[in-house]
Structures are given as C-alpha cells and as structure tokens.
Symmetry: C2
Subunit: 368 residues, 2 copies
Amino acid sequence: MKFFCNPKTLIYSISIVQKAVSSKSTLPILKGIYLEAYDQNLRLVTTDMELGIDHIMDANIIEEGSVVVDARLFSEIIRKLPDSEVEISLKDNNELLIKCDSIEFNILSYNPSEFPELPKIKEEQVYKIPQDLFKNMIRQTVFATAEDGTRPILTGVLVETGEGMLNMVALDGYRVALRKSDIESQLSDKVVIPGKTLNEINRIMDGGEDEKVQISLTDNHALFTVNNTKLVSRLLEGEFINYNQIIPKEFKSRIKIETKQLLDSIERASLLGKEGRNNLVKFTITDEKMIINSNSELGNVHEEIEIELEGDDLQIAFNSRYFIEALRVVDDDVIYLEFTTNLSPGIIKPISNDNTIHLILPVRLASY
Amino acid sequence: MKFFCNPKTLIYSISIVQKAVSSKSTLPILKGIYLEAYDQNLRLVTTDMELGIDHIMDANIIEEGSVVVDARLFSEIIRKLPDSEVEISLKDNNELLIKCDSIEFNILSYNPSEFPELPKIKEEQVYKIPQDLFKNMIRQTVFATAEDGTRPILTGVLVETGEGMLNMVALDGYRVALRKSDIESQLSDKVVIPGKTLNEINRIMDGGEDEKVQISLTDNHALFTVNNTKLVSRLLEGEFINYNQIIPKEFKSRIKIETKQLLDSIERASLLGKEGRNNLVKFTITDEKMIINSNSELGNVHEEIEIELEGDDLQIAFNSRYFIEALRVVDDDVIYLEFTTNLSPGIIKPISNDNTIHLILPVRLASY
C-alpha cells in the first residue's frame, strides 16, 4: 500500500471517523482506523461494534492495499505534520511509514484482515431528509433520553414513520420530548436509534437546507449516508413506551409566555438548588402574572413574569433541570404552557403548531 | 448597608477577586467575598490566608456597611441577572437582598467581623515595572517551578533585585528558567514569591506598555498594586538554590536554530512517548544538520533540521517535555543551543542577548 495525500484533508477525514473508535474495548484492533487505498480513494473505517463509520476521501494511490493503525497515534501524528504532501506506505515489516518533508515516522500496524466488517445494509427502506431539519429534530429530542442503562430502550430515540410523516420521541420516565415533521415518503417504520448514534450523525451533518441525509432502516440496523460518509448503527431492541397515551389532550390552564424570559427566570431559580438534589422551582399562576420562586438553606428567589392566562389559577412545582433543558431547545420566541392539575404533567408547545411537544412531570409538594 | 451598581461592573470585580477564594478551607467564611460599601465605593476582598485580593469599584452607596457572602453563589446570581441596575442591601435578619427588575434574591450572609483582615504592608521598598514586561517575565519563568510540595521553596519564583536590575528564576531540579531585566531602581531585595501568586497577578494585569504594576516587598509579604486592585501574598521561606553556580559559563558545541522548527520537531517526537514515562528525544548534531529522533514500542520518528554548528559534534538526549515547555515561552525566532558534554546541561538562549536562559538537564543513555 502506498499513497500521497493532503494532510488537512486527512485530518478532516480522521475527525469524521474518530468518534466510532472504541475507547474501552478489550480488542486492541478496535482502537484502530482501517485504511484502504483503492482506485483514487482512501477509505477510513472505524467501529466499536455498536456504531461504525465509513468515510471516503480523495488520495493519490500509487499501490492499493489496506492496514489498521492506532487511531489516536495516527491522528496526533498527522495533526502535527507541516502543511505539505504526506506519503504513507506499508513496509515489508508491516510498519507504516509516514513521510512529510524531512520527517519520517514508522509506526506499528495491525493486520487489516482482523478488522471487523461493518454490517451490509440493503438500501430498500430509504428516507431522504433535509439535513437542517434532521439536525433540529435530533437536538429537540435526544437530550431527553435516559442516561443510565437500567432501561436500555430509553437511551434511544423512537423514530416513527408513516405516510408523509416522521416523528421522533425520547423519554426517560420524568419527561417526554416529541418532534413531528412532514417528509416525502410512503414508507412505514418504527425503530429505536441509540442517542449516541444520533449525536454522531448530528456532528457529521454540515450541510444546509438543500443537502439531505439518506436513512435506510432494516430490522436490526440503521444506515445514515451524508456525502462521502456512511454511519451504520445497531438499533435498540425492545418495546418503546406508548407515548401517545401519556400526552394529555386537554388542559385546564393555559398560559402564553416568552420563552427566553421563562428560561432565564428558571435558570436563576435553579442557582439556589444544591447539586444532587431535586432542584425545585415553583410556579404560582394567576391572571396576568406568574410568580416563579425557589428556596433552599442558601436563601430564596422570587420573581414575576407577565403572562396571558386562559383557564384556572394554579400552583405547581417542577425539577428546574427538566424545564431548562426543554426550553433551551425550543425555537419559538413565545410558547404555551398547559396544565391540568398540579399532579398532572405540564406541557410546553409552540403557539403556532403542534410539531414540538415537551411533557414534564411535576413534583408533588406537601404545601404550596 | 445598601447600594446600587451596574451588574457588568460587579461581575468584572467578582472575577478579579474570585481566584483568592479558598476552595478547600475548613473555615466557611473563607469561601466568601467580603463586601464593604463606603463613600461612593464598593470594596471586594477575598483571601485563602496565603493570597489576598482587595479590589475597589464605583457604586452608588445609599447606606455604608459590610457583609460577607458565599462567593460562588453571589457570582452565579449576579451573572444571571438582566442588564439593569442592581440594588443590594443587608436586611435586619442578616439576609442579603439582591434586587433587579422584578427579581428578588435573599441569601444568607456571614458576619463581616469574622472575616480575616489582609496583612498591612508598609509601602517602603517599592518597584514600578511596566505590566507587559512583568507579564512576560512571569510567563518565561513560572512554568519551571516545582509542582509538588516536597521542596516548597521550589514552588516559587526567586525575585532578585539590585541596582537597575530585576531577575526572576524558577527551577525544579531538572531545569532552570532565568529571566533578567533592567528596571529603574536603587533598591536591593531577594524574595521567593509563590508561583500561584504570580499566575494571579499575571491574570489581573491587563494594561499595555505604559501601565505599571507597583510591587512592595517586606520580609514576609509582597504587595502588588494594579489600578484599583491590591494583591497581598505570603512569601515562601527558606534558602533558594544558588542558580549562578549551576549555569555553565562555557560551551563546546553551539548551534543556531529556528525556534519554531525545533519546537514542532520535538512535539512530533514526543508523540511516541507514553504518558508517565521519561519522554526521550535524541539530538544528533553534526555540521549543518541536527537529527532529532525518538522511539518507543509504538514506533519511531526521525527528522533533520538545518543548523549552524560552532564547535564539536554531539549526541545528547532530553526529556522532551522540558524542551517543549521552555521553547514555548521563548520570544526569539532564532536561538542558540549550547552544550558541553552529553552529561552536562543544555542551554537555550536568544542569539541577541543574555536576558533569557533556559537550562535543561540531559538524560544519560546507555547507547546513542
């Protein structure tokens, strides 16, 4: 194997695939990048057995071949090279020679035949979604996945498709984040994609409105294609909670409020909470104003926000973190908050449509 | 106590004093900021008993008085306020009321009479040094102080003054960083200032060429004055090593080399080292070129740099970290490296003057 390439292009390609390199695996070869030189292409592949990334870049191939090198060392070396053409070749003793100006690195390599192949995905059920829409849908849902693995299915996001629509839902037992969209498709699917996979595909998508990500689903895998990069992920197995049953269809109190003002206010209230505890914020809703307050052994905070109220007065308390995380991903300047009683979930939604719904369970207080 | 002030000014002032807040102290009041309202000034004071910072800002004082509040909570609250005037007052129950628009925080306070006073420094031995010069002197020495406390005196920088001169020296047993300068002064002193103090004063100095820092030295303390900020630090006790004896006066090999080229090259060589081990880089110096190489179980690297050699050929090895840290603070584009034998220290110095000297001990190798 021997090829020449531009170090900046190679650094970019390494940064694309590096996130699927296994950091903890006991299998040393999974800490590597598989490099394959063919035609006028260099292919880079990494996998941690859950997620695999396959990226192709231009290179001047002198001799075809393949090799696996330690991802961290290879990345650090290429990043520290001067900005002139790099020559990379596999020597007879299986050392990889990296040459640039008067610099010569020789590093150990692994046998490429031992590198696991990525699953082959039949591209039958194919969706094409504008990248900016899909990025937004990920941002508005993935934060609400469960962090720990006690219920693994909740560490993923439900992706549900039907005629002309694609919905994404995440929930962790304390809240639900639901994002709906209209897409051009006649297909129907229901899969749960790991949150980590969605964060990676989000990182890789750098296109604007006009560029699309292509998604293919099978029973066990999802394949995402963005330009020269393919990302293959296992799906999570199990039954996802029927979220439609949880989301209230009616309300007794609805307030109209400025998103930023509410977010700032709850962030201030959360300052008095102590780490590791339920960080309570209380809302007292009456005509035209909402009082937000919070107290702890450190002190208390009290502030008022102008609102428009439709329906009943209400006192209700929440864990401030869940409200803050939901409000941070809301794109609308003005929102509705909908409540039924102070023991039923609160809903955050845009005033103009039903595309985004955040549901948050309240905290029951002995007194208000 | 009651005053009004601009939240942005207050945030700036808190950021100045916050670094002397004790993070580990068992004395809770040392986690606080002492606030004193008098005339039209607000004074903010913090101390961890080694280092104290005293800063004065403008405020609209309605009622004089003082209070101590938790530094972290106070800072977080002020940072989250909207950009309108803040009212701060001490209530009869000793809670501090922070008011801004419709927002009201009430937080616990400490008794200001329990806050330790900063040492009173007689400003007799006073030096005035341009801020940019002093910043540079700190940057070029403080990195070479010892990190651990087995020899506490080496965690500081020796500041030595004499007629018209000020020298700063740091050393840790493996290297010496010496920076000389000419200043206008007839005084003579020799003190060791903790590295932490110098890092803090460096952070606070934001003036250019024309602004000066004022330094007053006593037997036990140093006082630094920068505009409205005073920083008082304990001095380190003990005898500093006589660094003049260590620095070789002659050389057998001297090479002229580009700083950046050498730094880049040693940084590349260091990539093959493993954390926690001596990270060796070998220099092979002959007429017109220097070969830099390094090897480990991961592989090896070899590169050549053009040089001008005066004197003997030489092979010598160093811990790459010490060379990298010294070269990163060198301001000159071209430097001399001076060597005697491969068992004696190497010297890095500018080609135009003797103001900066970095000495690094070599590593003895069984074979070259």
